[in-house]
Every structure is written in C-alpha cells, then in structure tokens.
C-alpha cells in the first residue's frame, strides 16, 4: 500500500468561499440541486444545507454571538467524508462495494453498490446519501481518480487560503500540531485537533483543526462503529424477545380465559 493520504482542514483560515464545493462538483460532475433553482435556507450563508449524494463537500456556517455582541464568532468549516481508518460504512456494506484504496481512503465502487443504504445508517457523521440520478450511495472519493494520476484533490487545489490541505497523513499531522501550538501561543486556547489520532475510529484520514468543541460544528465527540454496539444490541434483542414471548403468553392466556368466560356465559344462558 502507498502511504496513507488525506486532508487536514484548518478551519481557522476557512473563509467560507465554497470554492471547494464548486470544484468538487465540477471535477466529479455532480449536479446542482434542482438544476440550481432552490430556495434560501435561512441558515446563515449555507444554502447547500448538508452533505449528500450530490454534495460531497459542504461548508458549515455557525454564527455564535452573545446577545450584546460582547463576543461573537462566525465559524466556518468545510465538511467532507472523514475516510475513517475503521470505517463504519465499509463494515456495514453487504456487497463489498465499499473498499479501502491503496491510499488508505474509503471509496464506494459505483458498479458494485446496489443502493441498499446500510452504509447510510452506519456512518456516524451522516456523510453518505443516495444520488437520486444513479440510485447508488455516494460520497467523497478523495478524488481517487486524481490521486491515481498524481494530482491533488479538486477541493484542496481550489481552496484559496489553504484551509484544506492534502498530503501524506504523517506529514499533515505534524503540520497540524505546529499550527495548533502556534494558535495556542497566540492565545486561541479553544483550538483543538479532531480525528488526528487513533482515539476517533482509529484515526480520521480527513481530520480537522477546530476552534471549539466538535459539537459546535455538529460533529460527534465520540463517534462509534456499529459493530461496537453489537453485544449491547444483542442483549436488547434477547430481552425484547423474552418480553414479547411473555406478552404472547399473557395474550394467549387472556384469549383462553375470554373463551372460557364466553363459554360459561353461554352455558349460563342455556340454563
């Protein structure tokens, strides 16, 4: 396998220009929603609303002001598939459509995907959706085709402020650590890295520098694989089965009692 490659997204220099969204759509030939004729979302400057089968990059805008404006921030973050080292989607996919590439990225093979949607519910970040044109599950491929040709992914190439950086994960981690230390030295104490180490799903090959808690950006602080929930889920299922069985018995008994009661009544009537 080649060296693991990925994104480091430094949200502290994101200017919310959405060049990544457009570059992604242009390279991957993804359509605009409803041909571009859509309504204002009313959610700050975000009108693409979420990641989807046709929206593989999505810039979030978070307006965070106190009522008196004594403090105020407008956080921006370009969201994308995290290319998890332990990827829930890959684990859930029943057809083997989702693979790990030689770059340690996670890609859905479109000719194998049958649109079963297992990966959609498995992903803890809500990254994957069905592309209505193909009826298959789609998400960022980390520009697998460009990577194979030795090119930088379209979004990273288009980002004007180098908020989205592409490169070998080991190098990106170093760069991220330096940037974090610099920000801390400048007094931005809330700055933190997200997904840069193994603590989150074995590491995210698309990791972030955030300026606040992950929840502020709509990111789970402790995302889980579906398989880690299997024992608990199994226990719940067993318990459910027991309860259902008991209820069934109760129901049968009630039915029997009712029949007896009815028969008794009939008997009485006959008298």
């Amino acid at each position: 396998m080649a060296e693991p490659m990925g994104f480091f997204t430094d949200t502290s220099v994101c200017i919310g220009c959405k060049a990544c969204e457009v570059a992604c759509k242009a390279w991957n030939q993804l359509p605009a929603r409803n041909g571009g004729k859509v309504q204002l979302s009313g959610m700050s400057y975000d009108n693409t609303v979420s990641l989807s089968g046709i929206q593989w990059r999505h810039v979030k805008f978070i307006e965070d002001f106190t009522p008196d404006r004594s403090t105020g921030r407008w956080l921006m973050m370009s969201d994308v598939c995290k290319h998890c080292v332990r990827a829930a989607c890959l684990e859930a996919c029943p057809t083997g459509a989702i693979i790990r590439t030689e770059f340690d990225t996670v890609v859905i093979q479109q000719d194998v995907c049958n649109g079963c949607r297992a990966c959609i519910s498995a992903c803890p970040f809500g990254v994957i959706e069905i592309n209505p044109e193909t009826n298959t599950a789609m998400k960022c491929t980390l520009c697998y085709d460009r990577l194979q040709a030795g090119m930088v992914p379209a979004c990273a190439q288009a980002c004007p402020t180098q908020s989205i950086q592409f490169g070998p994960i080991s190098e990106l981690r170093q760069r991220a650590q330096q940037r974090l230390e610099q920000l801390h030295a400048q007094g931005v104490t809330q700055a933190r890295l997200y997904g840069h180490d193994e603590s989150i799903l074995g590491g995210l090959n698309s990791f972030y520098l955030l300026l606040d808690e992950p929840e502020k950006y709509g990111l789970p602080s402790n995302p889980q694989l579906p398989s880690t929930r299997v024992p608990a889920a199994a226990a719940v299922s067993t318990a459910t089965a027991v309860v259902l069985g008991l209820l069934g018995l109760v129901g049968l008994r009630k039915q029997r009692m009712d029949q007896l009661a009815a028969a008794a009544k009939q008997g009485n009537d006959g008298e």
Partner: protein, 836 residues
C-alpha cells in the same frame, strides 16, 4: 476598512491568511460582521458612511500623542510647507474651505471650489498668467515648461509656523476626538482606541501597516476623500513607499486596474493624462501642455508622453506642423460619467449605446435607468447570456406593473454572444499593477466572439464607411491608425474563428516603438516629444522591450526565502517597479530605516540606488544632491524627495491641487443620513457633491421618519457583480439562490419579522421585496444617543437567469462624488416592513 476582502477577493485573501499565520494582526472595521470579520483579530463596527470621522480620529490620535514618524513626516511629506495666508479651513468657516462659490449651470452641483487659496506660499510673487504668456512663445516644449517653473515654496522644518501644513492638519482634526468618533460612528470609544494603539504600535522604522479598501470607501459622495484620509494617515505613520505599507485598492473585478490604465475612463486618456477638454484651456496642443504639465517633478515629461500618444493615434499623419493631429482628437465638453450619461439618456439626448460587460438595467436607480433605455433608438448588448439590459423591454418590473408597454418601446436591441475569458488571449492588470498574460484555452462556442474581435471588426467597417468622406470633421477618424490585422500567413491555424486582431500588434502600439526603425522601446525614458517615438501608454512602455520578449508572460517567482519582490513574475508598471515611491523605504541619507524593512537603498561605493525592487528614483542621484533652484523636471527635487510624480517631490498631507472638494478630508454625512452632521451643523453633506435632478431621483431628508434605516449594499463571494456571470450557472446559483436582506435580531423584533419572512424594503426611489435573513452579525448602533439600525442587501439579482430576485439598485440614487462621479450605494435611507 471599506472592504470585505475574504468575500470579494478570496484569492488575494490567501496572502492575508498567510500573513496571519506569520503573526500579522488583522483589524476589520465595517458596518457588518462579514466573512472578513470572521477571520480578523479584531472586528470594529461603525455606521456606514462615517469613515472620515473614524480616520480623522486616528489622525488626531497620531498627532496629539506624537505617534507619527517624525523623520519621515519632516523629510518626505509637505508637512513643513507653508500655505497661503488667505487659506481658510473648515474650522474657520464652519464646515467649508475658502474658495467656495456657486456652481455654473449644468454641473449638477450647488457649489464648486476655486482652489487658488489652497496653494503653497511662494518665496516670491508669481504671476501665472504672465508666465504662461511668456511660455507660449518658447521654441520647444522643454523651454516652455522651464518658463512655467514657480518660485520655491516657503517652509518651516520645525513644523511650528501656524500656517505649515502640519499645523493646519492638526487644527483641522482637533475636534475628531475619541468621544466624537463614538458619537458619529457609533463605535465604542474603547474599541476605537484599541485600533489607534494597534496602528501606532505597528508603524515606524521596524514595522509597517497596510490599509486595504474597496467599494466601501469609494461608493460615497466623498469617496475620494475617504481614501485621501487614509493616505494622510499612512504618510503621518511613514507607511508609504515601504514594504508591507501603503494603501491597497481592491478592484471591483478582474483587470479594472487595466481598464483605468488603458483606459475606459471618460475624463482621461492613456496613462492618466487628462482627456482634452473643451471646458479647460486645451484649445491647442500648446495650451494643453501649458495647462496640464506640472513643470517640476516627473510629470514635466508630459509633452513626451502626449506627443508619443498622438503618434500612436494618427501614425504618419501626426506631424510637428499639424501639432501631431491634436486638433483631430475628440474633446470632452461635459460630465460623461455613468450617471450623467443616463441622465442625458433619460432626457432623450442619447440615441444609441453599446454595453460590453455591463448590465445597467440592474444598476443604480434601476427603474430610472430602465426607463432611460427605452429612450434609445438602438442598443448593442454583448454578453454571455441574455442579461436584464437586453431583456428590459419585455421583462422588467415596469413592464410587469404595466408602466411600460413592449409594443411602445422603440429601442432596437442587438444581442451579441460573447466569448468567456478562457476563450480569449490577452493581459490582465491587477491592483498591484502587474500586467499578466493569459493564453486562450479553447475556441468560444457558436457565434460567441471576443470584445477585441467585435471592436476590431466594427472599426474596420467604420473605416471603410468613412473612407470617402471629405468632411473636415471626419479627417481624424480617417487618419486614425488601425493596423491590427495579422500579417499574411501568420493567422493562427488552431482556431475556427476568423477575423481576430493580432494582440501582439496591439501591444506593440501600447508599448511603443521608434518611428523610423520600428524598434520597440525599452522604457519610457526613451520617449521623445518630436514625433520620433510612438507609444500609446507611457506607463506600459517597456513591457514589450523587444520582439520575442514579452514580460507580462514571465513566470519566474523568487525562491521561498528572498527577496520576495518577484521581479521575474509578469511586469509591473511603471518600469517593472513593485512598490511606488520606494525611495521612502530608505532614510534621508539613503540607508534602510531598518534591516527588517529594507527594500531600496543608496550604495555609496557604486554611487547608485540598489535593492530588491527597481528604485523609483533617478538611478544615480545621491541622497545629498541639492535641488537646483528654478530648474524644471527632476532637477527641481533634491535627493531626499521620494514622491517624484508630485511637483515638490513630497507626499501630500494637504492637497493643493487635483481635488474638487477640498485640500483635506472632512466629515460630511451621506446625502441620505438619519442624523445631522455633528461636526459641521451648517454643512450636512459634501457641498460639492453631484446630485442629478430627476423626478425619479427623490432623496430622503435628514432623519426622515418614513425612511429611518440605513441600508448598505454589497456583494457576496458566490456571485459576480450583477450576476451576469454567475446567476445563470447552476453550481453558483444554488449557493446563494435568492435575494435576502440582513437584519439584526433587534430590528427584526421591533418590526415583527422572522427569519425567511418576505419583507418589503423601500426608499424614496423604489420598493422591492426580499427574504429576511435575521442575523446577529448586524447590530444597531448608538449614534449621539440615538439608536440607528443598519441593514444590508447584496445587489446581485435581477429578473433574468436561474437565480432571480428584485433589483436592489432600484433603491439607490443618482448622487455622486464630485471628483470621480462614483455613486453612493453604501449608505442610503430605507424603511423595512413585513411584506403583505
């Protein structure tokens, strides 16, 4: 300040982000909290249109706290110069300068200034009229200019004389206190003082501060003075002509710099030479030279630039005996700016119009413009799509409302499809004056053609049409050189488009060549005033110094470490110089002010100026060179005068000539303002402002209760200008699909407006509907005890294309800055209510 760089110049903002990574502080002063504010270290709100009060406050702070760069100010600015005894300041006349008089008819102004009293006090009496009479008799242009040299100006290097520029500036801004700033701008005093401290700490020998502006400063009836205030402040702090300093003008779109250089301006010809003007003393070539040439300083070379320009216009027909064809050159006779032209169109005085890359149907006072368009006999629109201007006659709101009927509109519309930028080759000039060549990527589809193709073909056809004319008035057009066809056998073979001009031939004319040998010129130093050189644009001269060597195509950046001036990347006019007036980066003795900020310095052993940039100074003029008394041109300056284009070689804190509305920036309110002018109660607005009278150009009164809210208009990253290049593209349309109005939660609560509600926004000119975007990024300000609400609207929308919406400019008015005739779209009065 006055700009939203992250949103409107995201690609250039990469360098701000980079500077931030290296520890630079970013301060954003703006009525709205924008994507630029989000990246700034400090955001400072102010009321739209009060920038001069804010900057004036900073000027006062810097002077009163002695934070100015004393050595720089004394040596490199006109601080020490003494102004005439009869000059009176706004402090003397309660808000106006001496020289105010009633405006002549037809200027759309109430008053104008006579600037005679704003001049330097001379050491000897000087009669300009008499000097001019004498000069007219001179044999050569050089001799003529020599006779126009005035006596030296009086100076007091101690800056103590009460009529020195320094003391006048000090008195002028003495009332711009932090408290006054708070009361006018609505900016909390503590925040203002923090800005002042950051600015002062970050200026001096070791450090420089850059000011970045855009339409937030220009689009006011005192737009030029906004920038003048910044220039004054930067000169006081020693931040001009030095790396990391200066004032960065962010341009409205690609190659706006190029289009003013070349130019498409109505009042200047190439290279910022004044357009021959019937209203000025420009009757003959000599009159023009006498009126326009500044006899001392670099502009003394004007005759060389102008004669070479006339040679480029009329070629061999331009001869010394016919004044190089000067009499053929068109003269302007009035205000031909955008608003003045549409004002004339509204009166039915204009018959036809060409609109290239422009969409006036969604421009200022849109309804009035669309009605004016209906007065045309014909119009040509050349654009990528059928934009609002081309469709005004059947789809405008006036037609929808039944106020105009398509069958009654006589205007014949010719819509020509246009090529996109990737489909043409040519150069772009950016705000740093870099001329950069770009190649063509693909042929345009169908009948789409470049603007160059269209203009070339039109010119060829017109030339043919006029070829047989014997009318004297057509002589100039007949003599106009137009030889841009490719040489036979040289037309490119990799295109199906025929009839394009040869762009390198156009460049040959712009760069200039020797008329006898045809040899390309290596720089404007070679220009002559005898007709032996031709050059359309002296400032671009040297970009194409020899065949096969076209510097705008250069792509050799400096290595990562140094020196960072990138002289091998493209060509920066003039003379590939990256920082203008860079002599100021060295101290009066020619040594760098500091190691950290060194750029250009005097090398005593080589006896010349050296450094990382092309020195903006005579190459071998030593710092201790004295000025030659009575000399013309550069000899009039000593070796310590970096501002070579100015007659005295000094940066002007006080501007004696060139500005219509005063030698110093002064706080006036926008033409439509919710509050009275606190500093000058007698003069609410710029007394020289242009106001174009029309029944559909009504203005709200001061504190108008019907229109109490300040509206500021702007652009978004996701769209471009009127949307002609973005609203038709699905990928961009979906990013900002509908028109909205940004409203603070406080105003929304007051008006019962919820997020996404439809609201009606009305001004004295029009009324439109938009969706509410309620956001804490906008905030009410307390202005002199009164709550002032500000709302914001992006103006990208119109009635054609994928993403449609009302025209925000239907609210704006025809009022203008008197210097450059820009409109006031950043501060106007409106009302907002929930739409029914």
């Amino acid at each position: 300040m006055g700009s939203n760089m992250a949103e409107n110049h995201p690609v250039a903002f990469r360098w701000v982000a980079e500077a931030k990574r290296r520890g630079a502080k970013v301060v954003h002063i703006d009525p709205r909290f924008t994507r630029t504010s989000a990246l700034a270290d400090l955001y400072v709100p102010l009321r739209s249109g009060t920038d001069i009060a804010f900057l004036g406050g900073l000027i006062r702070y810097v002077i009163e706290n002695e934070k100015y760069f004393k050595d720089y100010v004394v040596n490199y600015t006109n601080a020490a110069t003494i102004i005439r005894d009869d000059f009176q300041d706004t402090e003397d006349l309660e808000g106006v300068f001496s020289g105010l008089k009633e405006a002549p008819q037809g200027t759309n102004q109430k008053y104008v200034y006579d600037n005679a009293t704003w001049q330097y006090k001379r050491v000897a009496a000087w009669d300009v009229a008499k000097a001019r009479e004498e000069a007219k008799k001179a044999a050569t242009f050089a001799e003529m200019i020599q006779k126009m040299v005035p006596p030296a100006a009086e100076k007091d290097p101690t800056l103590q004389h009460p009529r020195t520029v320094f003391q006048i500036v000090r008195r002028h801004f003495s009332r711009y206190t932090p408290e006054m700033v708070e009361q006018i701008c609505g900016t909390p005093k503590e925040l203002f003082l923090r800005v002042a401290e950051i600015l002062a700490e970050n200026s001096g020998p070791e450090r420089t501060t850059m000011m970045v502006y855009a339409m937030g400063w220009t689009q006011h009836t005192y737009g030029v003075q906004n920038i003048g205030a910044a220039a004054l402040l930067q000169l006081l702090l020693g931040n001009v002509g030095r790396p990391g300093g200066g004032i960065l003008a962010l341009r409205g779109h690609a190659t706006i710099q190029g289009s003013t250089d070349v130019p498409t301006l109505h009042h200047s010809i190439h290279g910022y030479m004044a357009h021959p003007d019937a209203r000025r003393n420009h009757d003959t070539l000599r009159d023009y030279m006498l009126t326009e040439t500044r006899p001392t300083g670099f502009w003394a070379n004007l005759p060389k630039f102008l004669v070479s320009y006339l040679k480029s216009m009329y070629g061999d027909a331009a001869k010394p005996e016919n004044d190089f064809g000067y009499d053929w050159h068109p003269k302007i006779a009035g205000d031909y700016s955008f608003m003045a032209s549409f004002h004339a169109m509204a009166r039915g005085e204009i018959k036809g119009a060409f609109f290239f890359g422009q969409n006036p149907a969604t421009s200022i006072n849109g309804s009035l413009i669309r009605r004016a368009l209906a007065n045309l006999d014909w119009m040509v629109v050349k654009d990528n799509f059928e934009i609002e201007t081309a469709a005004f006659w059947y789809k405008s709101p006036e037609v929808e409302r039944g106020e105009m009927k398509p069958e009654e509109i006589k205007t014949e519309v010719f819509l020509f499809p246009s090529a996109q930028v990737a489909e043409i080759e040519g150069t772009f000039t950016n705000t740093q004056r870099w001329i950069q060549f770009h190649e063509k990527a693909a042929d345009p589809p169908g009948d789409c053609r470049s603007d160059a193709w269209f203009t070339h073909q039109l010119a060829l056809r017109l030339k043919k049409l006029y070829a047989d004319s014997t009318l004297p008035r057509d002589e100039g057009f007949k003599n106009l050189t137009w030889d841009f066809d490719y040489d036979p056998g040289h037309y490119p073979t990799n295109t199906r488009i025929q009839g394009e001009p040869d762009v390198m031939k156009i460049w040959r004319e712009i760069n200039g060549f020797k008329t006898d040998t045809g040899e390309l010129l290596k720089g404007f130093g070679e220009l002559k005033d005898d007709g032996s050189t031709t050059c359309a644009s002296w400032i671009y001269c040297g970009a194409y110094p020899e065949e096969g060597k076209f510097l705008p195509a250069n792509r050799n950046p400096d290595p990562d470490d140094k020196p960072g001036t990138h002289l091998g990347w493209a060509f920066a006019w003039p003379a590939n110089r990256r920082i203008l007036y860079n002599r100021a980066s060295a101290d009066p003795n020619g040594n760098p002010w500091s190691e950290r900020k060194k750029l250009v310095w005097w090398d005593a052993t080589q006896k010349k100026w050296v450094g990382y940039d092309v020195p903006d100074f005579p190459a071998t003029k030593a710092p201790d060179t004295p000025a030659k008394p009575g000399a013309a041109g550069m000899d009039a300056h000593d070796g310590k005068s970096p501002f070579i284009l100015l007659p005295d070689g000094k940066g002007w804190l006080f501007v004696p000539t060139g500005l219509q509305d005063g030698p110093l920036p002064t706080h006036y309110e926008p033409v439509e303002s919710p509050v009275p002018n606190l500093l000058y109660p007698k003069w609410q607005i710029n007394p020289i402002a242009k106001i174009y009278e029309h029944e559909r150009n009504q203005l709200a009164t001061v504190g108008d209760t019907q229109y109490p809210i300040v509206l500021t208009t702007y652009r978004l990253t996701e769209h471009h200008l009127s949307g002609a290049m973005s609203r038709w593209l699905p990928w961009l349309a979906e990013l900002q699909p509908e028109l909205f109005v940004e409203i603070s939660p406080e105003l929304a609560a007051e008006k019962g407006i919820k997020n996404l509600d439809l609201v009606r926004v009305s001004s004295k000119r029009g009324s439109i509907v938009a969706k509410a975007l309620v956001t804490p990024r906008l905030r009410p300000l307390t202005v002199n005890g009164k709550t002032v609400h500000q709302i914001g609207m992006p103006w990208h929308w119109g009635f054609m294309g994928l993403a449609v919406g009302d025209v925000v400019n239907d609210l704006t008015s025809w009022v203008a800055d008197p210097n450059v005739m820009i409109h006031e779209a950043k501060a106007l009065l409106v009302n907002v209510e929930k739409a029914q």
